[in-house]
Subunit: 421 residues, 3 copies
């Protein structure tokens, strides 16, 4: 391994980390776009805080829970608090066979950590208490996410069993999705979403441009999320991952386009947007294993799953304002299983491992999230009052509206009273 | 060629592809900002779909039409459907003299492909039928764009003739602009744009922040668009391209600022924004050939062209809501000709080749687009009904408004009826 | 130094320049979000123009003022107008010990140059005359910024004295902050901000999503701002800078969260957003010197400073609509001093040098900005008329509203009059 190759490998992981970072803006704008105007400041606040919480808890405990080095049985390990740079080349060129430094390893993984909690924030939007959410996110990201992450990426028992999850269809996305599901079950639907007469009331988002910006930024960042997960700048591997990631996202759009057209009749923008995300989540577990054609098939199916899953969750009265469970949980499971069906590792044996891997991680995560959220529910409470929900969280939790009230007719006059003070 | 150099070259093209990708969000937000509130979902939908269509058709046929390998006469060639990775090093370090892999070649070019159709989407906004547009975009991107692209970049007859177009002032931008012009001619202006009394009614966009976000993201992505077109990470070449691209965009802003101030009296934001784009389109054909000073001159002229072209198209009643023909067609031609006037290749002979190259590609593209759009017009129809146009495409095609209706006076009360269900 | 290492080093600085570029969109959206709806076009216009002005003046004089090569006394030098590529390898591999080319050096520094003026644009928003601002920005960026920049980065007297400012807590951020302070003192507060009864009227921004997009884009770009300031792709150095930059931003959010909760009681989104920026400004001077833990402490303190500084400036009736002086001036000074308190260079001697360095640069910058703005005030005038301020600058300076007036009740009908023309 020479210095130049080390430098370029390391540089790519850092740039990939930067791309993953911007996914948090993608989540923030997507979720902000899909909630109502009265809850926009609240969701932006949560997303800004989650990044901070994710990075800091990963520094304090997460990194050393996820990569404990030793694997006592492979279920749990901890290498101590904080970061401890190995001396000399042990933290540099020798750290990961010349692929990246100790600091790079930390920052790339840290950027992933907050993602799981961000997925939850969309599903519980518009009715969760802010303190409850922040506490939930802190504990979940600090403890639950790195433990299941260790099972595979930290060399734990699922890794030993042959479970495969390249960049986190299960370890990141389904994990976030399971936590979202547990939270929503305890939280209940938004007021007015499901009428007493059995009618389902659609509650459209307040800004489709924001939602679109979010999805496109997520796709943009996904090239770092998947491409960086090669963990080197290996030309063939990284470029194949770029191709499969791009094509699966594109196919996801088409899959959702076709199925939502058939099911609903209209050209549904939010379905196409979630279809893109579904395709991206779907390819993530096997982005390095698939041919371009296989990536397209996986993406098409993931995209087609979206409208079905959205309708399904609405039928069983699980109210998820942004479709996070459909995108991250359902397509995350699909992507994980797809590793056993398509590509270089396809086979019954692999499919079986993929299945019990996703179920094991799902069971742990769901239980952890459910117990944690339940404890919050019976202590500080997790749901805002009806009055707060009706008034909106922006005014009641933040004393701030997301937008200056628009002009009725004469924009230039509206501040005249202010000026005359 | 050593492995480290191969790795860094390849990495740069992949990162450049990522930057080109985000230009699609730039186009989406720019176009969304410049249309009216009632057509925002429609333009976002089109732009999301175009990326998917562009990537998938380029996978199916485009790449092999644009780079057929053999050039039978140099006008047309096809290397078969889908992607076929050459075996071993033939798809890797040996593929492009150690510059990039086969997959990288595909993904970088694929990111460009959708651009041409995106340019059209802006020009035909607010009145085209969605199905007609999607069909047009699919066929145009799948067939017309790669054929003329092959003439130069695929080693075809214009390449043999000495025509130069570094990153696509003609091959991408003017091609999109010609298709936009053909489409708009068949489609006609928006209702109410040109009064019976000869008056031209300005129809301002619905969100200048969105438009500004769009232009800045496009400039950001342009560093990949032009910088990646070096097709390696060669330090001197890529850094010069960064300098010329940055300065031409800046000069475009100044050119448009000065001329719009002289012509219209006001400080016109949309002119400055389109001036930046004009400068960027203008430098694109010769970004690697120009000195910084020449880049500034090219950008200044391109920027000054913008207000003139916008006024000109309005005078001849060609209604282009976002100014796409002014930016991409007029400045695309200017940039192509500028290669014969300034920089390393300047000369009468080169200017002549640049002229007939741009005309040849323009003639083919205009004809292709005109016939295709005409066929759609006489079959499924290309224009929405007057009623749909008045109501807006968001409600009529998508059954969704871009924004939650704003509060009249009391934002906190508006959802009370919903909550009381 | 081998070719591959040269190529990857150079590539990183170019990519870092691209990341710094997008910070200008960050500033534009942050400032646009924090002003009122009636002044949005104006702030977007200023920010678009500043980039152009910054890049072009840096080409004409700035680069050669900042890096004159010779240092006659170390206070001032000038290497002539325009760019002059050293011949052959002197502009290439030999230019900076194989780290980057002459063109790369220029473009990376040029991207920084406009930042200082952009900081001013936020502070003077909503009441400054456009021409006055553009003239101020041009002269300030062309002359003042590069002169003080030379004192340290160009090898001037402060560099000789041992002053340390890794990526510009003082040289970029505090410089912008001092100029903002001088400008605001001459300009006065917005109408209605401070009532005759001594009451301070909060004037919230018009769009919190735009403000959030701005902060996240700034953080994204900061990885290039700080990471690129390593001036090579050195794996250990760049990766450490990524870690300290990420953690300081995160800690800034937490610091502002805690203190604003204690002071104001509410969960204040704008404080958390400015806290992130404060943390980033704070770490910038010593991002390469700090351990992760030290970065967190610096960020926490910077974040906690934000609510205090905002309240302080409001008390002394310095009206800064976006909090630019709190973020860039106060946290810039804090970050500069922190180099003497924490990390590899900590010590009384260093702290003393940091103090007089920041004061020397502050004194020069404040004086330059004050005199320049004063000259503009007594000649063309710097403040718009009361009537213009009340009506808003969008209508009065640009004849354009930022947003299409929203629908009152029936969005689909509002354009019917237009269509009936």
């Amino acid at each position: 391994m020479n210095e130049a190759l080390f430098t370029v490998n390391n540089l790519w992981i850092l740039i990939a980390a930067t791309l993953v970072f911007i996914m948090h803006l993608g989540f923030a704008t997507l979720e902000a776009g899909l909630v109502r105007r009265k809850n926009v400041v609240n969701i932006l606040f949560k997303n800004a805080m989650i990044i901070a919480i994710g990075l800091l808890t990963y520094y304090i405990v997460g990194f050393n829970l996820m990569y404990p080095g030793t694997n006592a049985g492979g279920f749990f390990g901890f290498a101590g608090f904080g970061l401890h740079l190995p001396e000399g080349e042990a933290g540099g060129m020798a750290y990961a066979d010349g692929a990246y430094t100790y600091w790079t390893d930390f920052i790339f993984q840290a950027m992933f950590a907050a993602t799981a909690a961000t997925i939850v924030s969309g599903a519980v939007a518009e009715r969760i208490k802010l303190e409850a959410f922040l506490l939930f996110a802190t504990v979940f990201v600090a403890i639950s996410y790195p433990i299941t992450g260790m099972w595979k990426w930290g060399g734990g028992w699922l890794d030993a069993a042959g479970f495969y999850d390249f960049a986190g269809s299960t370890l990141v996305h389904a994990v976030g999705g399971w936590a979202a599901l547990a939270s929503v079950l305890l939280l209940g639907p938004r007021l007015g979403k499901y009428g007493k007469d059995g009618k389902i009331k659609p509650i459209p988002g307040h800004s489709m441009p924001l939602a679109t910006i979010g999805v496109m930024l997520l796709w943009f960042g996904w090239f770092g999320f998947n491409g960086g997960s090669v963990l080197s700048a290996d030309p063939m591997a990284v470029s194949l991952v770029f191709v499969t990631t791009a094509l699966a996202g594109a196919a996801g759009a088409i899959g959702a386009f076709i199925l939502s057209r058939l099911l609903f009749g209209a050209y549904d923008l939010s379905m196409v947007l979630n279809g893109i995300l579904g395709g991206l989540v779907g390819i993530t577990a096997g982005a390095d294993l698939m041919s371009p054609g296989e990536a397209i098939v996986i993406g098409l199916i993931a995209g087609a799953i979206i409208p079905l899953a959205v309708v399904f969750f609405d039928r069983i009265r699980i109210d998820d304002p942004v479709g996070a469970t459909s995108v991250h949980l359902v397509c995350g499971i699909w992507g994980t299983l797809a590793v056993g069906i398509f590509g270089a590792k396809a086979g019954w044996q692999q499919l079986w491992v993929q299945l019990y891997g996703t179920l094991a991680i799902g069971a742990f995560t769901f239980l952890f999230a459910f117990v944690l959220m339940y404890l919050l529910k019976i202590t500080i409470g997790i749901r805002v009052s009806e009055e707060m929900e009706i008034k909106g969280l922006d005014i009641t939790e933040h004393d701030l509206e997301a937008y200056e009230p628009g002009p009725a007719t004469e924009p230039s006059l509206q501040f005249s009273s202010m000026a005359s003070v």
